[in-house]
């Protein structure tokens, strides 16, 4: 009986980083079902291709660093899927791939492996693509007229104005908030199906992959600002309903903001972080140049996350004044 040396804790909790990423991936795949039914297999192809591009670039980056980390936790796939789900269906295929490359090679690679990136890679990728090709990112196809789209080729389809573009121009979108629940209004691939996003959010909270307080404070802050500083001339309730349901705010509150790596690690810090990110989303929507400012708000909130942790520790008197470098 030759006995091997092992590290002590014989049993470990069954939820590991890999299982957390698998839960997120499962939720994202769930979100793909509705668009695939409506538009054919193009959204699925787009998601898989983006995920593959992210995975390959992550493995390449690790090979250059001569690190045999391999691709055990599918976090690049999650980043790829999130990017693909926030793109319009008729976007050319190289758009999400460029976003994926930027996400992995610039936002994640230089800062080290999975747990070290200060910014959410998916948000950075989408922000880069939005700033560089705004026209392509915001040209959504009209869900009624378009049925099945070519799998790989770029397709020119009749585009329609999405509700948050209408909101941006200060008018009242003609679609009723109740109809927006079903998600058949022009918008990004995965973020329009509001009910499915809410279901995925609940799933992630129950599996404790994501922390619920970040999303709760995010939506509360966004609703608060939407109610008291409505962008369109209507009652507070309708303004809140329009702001929350339109655009990628709900999707971003479940997937982008709750990424544990780039959020603060203390519970109190997370509440501040969620509220700040919610407020920044509304500021971006009102004063920003693009109709969807969620990704930029997430990036700024990520930059402030370490400060919020230090604030919490200083409040508890645990000595966290900044130090000489």
């Amino acid at each position: 009986m030759n006995l091997k040396r092992t590290n002590v804790p014989l049993i470990r909790s069954e939820s590991t980083v890999a299982s957390m990423m698998r839960d997120a991936l499962f939720a994202l795949v769930l979100l793909l079902v509705l668009p695939v039914v409506r538009y054919g297999f193009r959204p699925a192809v787009m998601a898989v291709v983006t995920g593959a591009v992210c995975a390959v670039s992550e493995v390449l980056f690790n090979l250059i660093r001569k690190l045999n980390r391999g691709l055990s936790d599918c976090s690049p796939m999650v980043t790829g899927f999130i990017i693909a789900l926030m793109m319009p269906v008729n976007a050319p295929l190289w758009l999400p791939c460029t976003a994926g490359l930027f996400a992995i090679l610039v936002a994640k690679g230089p800062f080290g492996s999975t747990g070290r990136n200060p910014f959410n890679p998916a948000a950075a990728g989408i922000a880069f693509v939005t700033v560089c090709w705004p026209s392509l990112v915001f040209s959504y196809c009209d869900p009624e007229l378009v049925r099945n789209l070519p799998l790989f080729a770029d397709c020119s389809v009749p585009t329609a104005v999405s509700p948050d573009a209408v909101l941006k121009s200060g008018l009242k979108p003609q679609i009723l908030p109740f109809d927006m629940l079903w998600g058949d209004f022009p918008g990004p691939v995965g973020t329009t199906a509001v009910l499915v996003v809410a279901a995925c959010g609940l799933y992630l909270f129950l599996k404790r992959t994501a922390r619920w307080e970040i999303t709760a404070f995010f939506l509360a802050a966004a609703a608060f600002i939407a109610a008291f500083f409505p962008r369109i001339a209507c009652s507070a309730m309708t303004s809140v309903k329009y702001e929350l349901l339109s655009g990628s705010l709900l999707f971003c509150s479940v997937f982008l903001v709750t990424d544990p790596v780039t959020a603060p690690h203390t519970t109190a810090g997370r509440c501040m972080y969620g509220a700040f990110a919610g407020a920044m989303v509304m500021v971006f929507r009102r004063y920003g140049a693009y109709q969807q400012g969620a990704v930029f708000a997430v990036l700024i909130a990520n930059a402030l996350a370490p400060l919020m942790d230090d604030l919490v520790f200083r409040a508890r008197g645990w000595g966290s004044e900044l130090r000489e470098i």
């Binding site: 660093r65 610039v106 936002a107 690679g109 230089p110 800062f111 080290g112 492996s113 747990g115 070290r116 200060p118 910014f119 950075a124 922000a127 880069f128 939005t130 700033v131 705004p134 500021v283 971006f284 004063y287 920003g288 140049a289 693009y290 400012g293 990704v295 930029f296 990036l299 700024i300 930059a303 402030l304 370490p306 400060l307 230090d310 004044e321 900044l322 130090r323 000489e324 470098i325």
Partner: protein, 196 residues
């Protein structure tokens, strides 16, 4: 009351929408230098706010004069530089003479805070946005606050980018520069294009 509101609004605008520092990419070198000595960040940003206040008020006085004359427009940068140098020399002399304790403690902060791209960009900002004196004061204070926030963020990020988890080639300054790049990308969402 209206003037105070104007000051506040432009200060907020300087922090978010027209943030010359982040989206314009001005003054990141100085923020890096400030981030290296975290204990003096607060005083450093106060001084930056103070000197940008002087320089923006200077700009609002000088710009109409420069506007008419063609030759003066060519000499605009030289004029701004000379006036900023005069402001720095005067202030440094006064501090050295009357506040020796302050001079010993924050003496070497005066030069980097007075002479940097942020302070010298202020007259251009005043010309580009046609700010009234009260708005100019607001903008200068907003820029000082943005400098303070930026230095705090970079101080935390510098610590984060230095440890051994980062790849060897990217450890230290390169990953910090990429961090600044992504931060500037985040603020580019406000204007979506060049500031001026």
């Amino acid at each position: 009351m209206n003037d105070f509101l104007q000051v506040l609004m432009t200060a907020l605008a300087a922090l978010t929408v027209e943030n010359a520092l982040f989206s314009g990419g001005i003054g990141f070198g100085k923020m890096l230098r400030a981030a290296r000595r975290p204990r003096q960040i607060r005083m450093h940003s106060l001084l930056v706010a103070w000197f940008s206040l002087i320089s923006i008020l200077l700009g609002s006085v000088l710009n109409p004069v420069i506007q008419e004359n063609e030759v003066l427009q060519f000499m605009r940068p030289a004029l701004y530089a000379l006036f900023t140098a005069a402001a720095y020399l005067l202030f440094a002399f006064l501090v050295k003479a009357f506040l020796p304790k302050f001079h010993i403690k924050y003496g070497e902060l005066l030069a980097p805070a007075a002479i940097n791209t942020v302070v010298l960009a202020m007259p251009y900002v005043q010309k580009a946005f046609k700010l009234s004196p009260f708005q100019a004061v607001g903008y200068a204070l907003g820029t000082g606050a943005a400098f303070y926030l930026g230095s705090l963020i970079l101080a935390g990020a510098a610590l984060h980018c230095k440890d051994e988890e980062c790849p060897k080639a990217f450890a230290g300054l390169p990953s910090l520069l990429i961090y600044i790049g992504i931060l500037s990308l985040a603020f580019a969402g406000f204007t979506g294009a060049k500031l001026f």
